[in-house]
Symmetry: C2
DNA sequence: TTGACAAATGACCACCTGGTCATTATTATA
DNA sequence: TATAATAATGACCAGGTGGTCATTTGTCAA
């Protein structure tokens, strides 16, 4: 076993038991039977170690999931069942890692770790989305993002059962139970909450700038929707300012406030505030 | 404002921004404009501070929820809608706290904090359970624990949306959307996963001892269920040993291994291992 | 103005952290 | 065997931690 692997396995165990921050490099090196210096020959820093761990296990998990979804032999509720089963089976098999991932992803304030987490989250979303498309096609167009979130909710909450309580479970039954529930919601739920627009907002990195072109596009869309009104006029004025800045911050802020008063315009108001850095 | 409150508010803000462990007492006192000594006049330790924060906000949240469920004016899907709305509204109103709670509960290894988390979790479960009873009565007897878990999954995953992305949301719509989904599952899902037996296992504190009486009760139940077999004989021998210890650890371990081979006996095998401290 | 009591201070403690680097041990090559 | 190259060591560093306590400051009634 390479030194890198040795360290990773030792660290995995300790991190799962005590958490990332609470585990010192000292402890890891003692547990691996190597010196502190040797640790830093394999990893530039403690952060690089946890990144490597996350990359290693997440790529494995994601490729497993992808394999299930891409396999043409899996169809209907059977595909759903296998999807859930694979998820929980992976979590159970690599429970040390799963614990770390669930805990640290929620806990960390390290920017790089957060964006790594978001990246993998996005990959899982995409796989889930392709599964939903395959299973239900057009019929879930309006509710697909809600379905993704429900599925993620299931994955999260049920995984607690075996990660943090050491009880033997029938994962096959769990898969069937959740497949049935997902199927019910896919076929019958009618009230979407997460719209395309909303989902896009979450998907793009938190601090990503909105381009002028994108902003204009959204505004044009909304202007077409609106009836003649103060709000529509405000939006038109704002659009002109985006194209050719001329208004004072106070005026801009006021115009945005006007728009915000319409419930279905709050998102565009939010985007504008972000665009103008308010 | 009392000094205690002042500290709690300062700390809340810092904890939400940087996390509990990453925030030092030094920072808290600087942010509050008091000295380090003064901090320790109000709180015995940093741990006591976070306990106080959790108690304060959780009791408020739980009493809000309880109020909604106990109000006889709330019936049918409307009650469900209000339940979700209140949850998310609370999370949004006290988002600093909600962030801390979600993060630290998942992350901590402090025993006292864990049991506090479990305690509040149990309270929320009980409120949810009484709501489900009220709404669906007998018809969800088999699936009620799964419903609780699904509801908790919804609460968890959707709260991420507004806690970690700063986007304005229509919480009323969210409430309606989740109420519909919950209702669908309550009325139509047929495959339970979390049985009474299983739920009880999670509910009792992780390290709570199983009493001899309880152990015998479970074993008698299972013995009645089993056909004549090696497994049944093993269980009978184990029962005799529980009543009057006489077998060696090696034999006990072997007998438990026999039982474990039947899928539906894995839970009793687990209980026995716990009882014998294996 | 004095004195008694409580409230508040911040220098200080022992300990632990992630990370470095001059030194030493091991191995491969000639 | 001698030399060069690589691997491994652990004492050491600066900085930060939660927590303490002798000392100072503030606030009353007498």
């Amino acid at each position: 076993m390479s030194k890198k692997q040795l360290i990773m396995e030792s660290a995995l165990e300790l991190f799962a038991k005590q958490g990332f921050e609470a585990t010192s490099v000292q402890q890891i090196t003692e547990h691996s039977g190597i010196s502190k210096g040797a640790f830093y020959l394999s990893f530039k820093s403690k952060d690089e170690l946890i990144m490597a761990l996350i990359d290693h296990f997440m790529m494995q998990f994601i490729s497993d999931l992808d394999h299930i979804v891409k396999d043409p032999n899996n169809t209907g509720e059977e595909l759903l069942r296998k999807f859930f089963y694979t998820t929980f089976h992976s979590f159970q098999k690599h429970s040390d890692f799963a614990k770390i991932f669930i805990k640290e992803q929620a806990h960390t304030f390290n920017q790089e770790l957060i964006s790594k987490g978001r990246h993998f989250d996005q990959l899982i979303d995409n796989i889930t989305l392709s599964m939903l498309d395959q299973l239900y096609g057009e019929t879930v167009q309006h509710t697909k993002y809600d379905l993704i979130y429900c599925i993620k909710g299931f994955m999260h909450i049920y995984s607690h059962l075996f990660l943090f309580f050491n009880v033997p479970l029938d994962l096959n039954l769990l898969g069937r139970s959740l497949a049935e529930k997902t199927n019910l919601m896919a076929k019958q739920s009618t009230i979407p909450f997460i719209t395309d627009e909303l989902y896009e907002m979450f998907s793009e990195p938190v601090n990503k700038e909105i381009t002028t072109g994108k902003m204009i596009e959204i505004m044009d869309q909304k202007i077409r929707e609106l009836e003649e009104s103060i709000e529509k006029d405000s939006l038109i004025l704002l659009k002109q300012d985006v194209l050719e800045p001329s208004l004072s911050p106070a005026i801009i802020k006021g115009l945005i406030a006007n728009i915000k008063s319409l419930p279905h315009c709050r998102l565009i108001a939010y985007s504008l505030r972000k665009y103008y850095h308010f």
